[in-house]
Symmetry: C2
Subunit: 158 residues, 2 copies
Amino acid sequence: MAAKSDIRPGEVAIALPPAFDARVYFIGRIRTPFKRREDCPRSTAASDAIGRVELDPRFVAGLKDLELYSHAFLLYWMDEARRDLIQQVPAHLGHPRGTFALRSPVRPNPVALAAVEILGFEEAGMVVRNVDCVDGTPLVDIKPYFASTDSFPGATRP
Amino acid sequence: MAAKSDIRPGEVAIALPPAFDARVYFIGRIRTPFKRREDCPRSTAASDAIGRVELDPRFVAGLKDLELYSHAFLLYWMDEARRDLIQQVPAHLGHPRGTFALRSPVRPNPVALAAVEILGFEEAGMVVRNVDCVDGTPLVDIKPYFASTDSFPGATRP
């Protein structure tokens, strides 16, 4: 993780709002083979790594019936990321792009999103394929994946 | 919205953790035709409604290059929802299902997720299709949609 003082030419930092508006519980952790950020694949598409979602015991009952689904979204908190860059220069791009046109962990609310394949369940969590985050990343939510509303195979990108 | 004291037979409430772990900024609002919760469609698949994403001015520069994408994810905060139900009985289902196997706004962290079609941009935001939330819903994040990692047309559900 870059230090907060690191900013590449062309990147734009903003003054964040003076106060927060809402609060989040960490409901568990994602266990992955990636011990350091620099070990992580660039995206879930570049990873068939298997990970484990470990829930805080109080939330385990919330998994009931998730086994009826093949895929789920994980929402997790990129707690090492700075939050004040509104335009960033990704190394692979070389010029500034808006934060909301990037999946970078650096964003006002560092919530990451990954669609994963559900492989199975354990006493306090589940096993999934396609993880890309560092081991121990705090989990914020799990949602079932609905092809009817979530799948746009024809979606275009640059 | 049901009052906090309302709980259906079979639903399970838990004691939430004693403290929060992270904090969120509201970065804007989603404007939709739905003035009351009871006017909202059941999901984005049941809606071709057009909505407007209005960003706080400090975050507008973050939209740069999002026009290169056809679709985006909106993450928004369901701020009227209770957070302590870990199993719920949806009216259409009639029996308890785990909160993490539902897209209900009632969840430990009431972050909702919608994949929307990008129709255009305005001075302080953008116009999108497939909105399902109540007018004025607080926005938490916008992410570009990648078919390569986000689209699973064969994902199965009950």
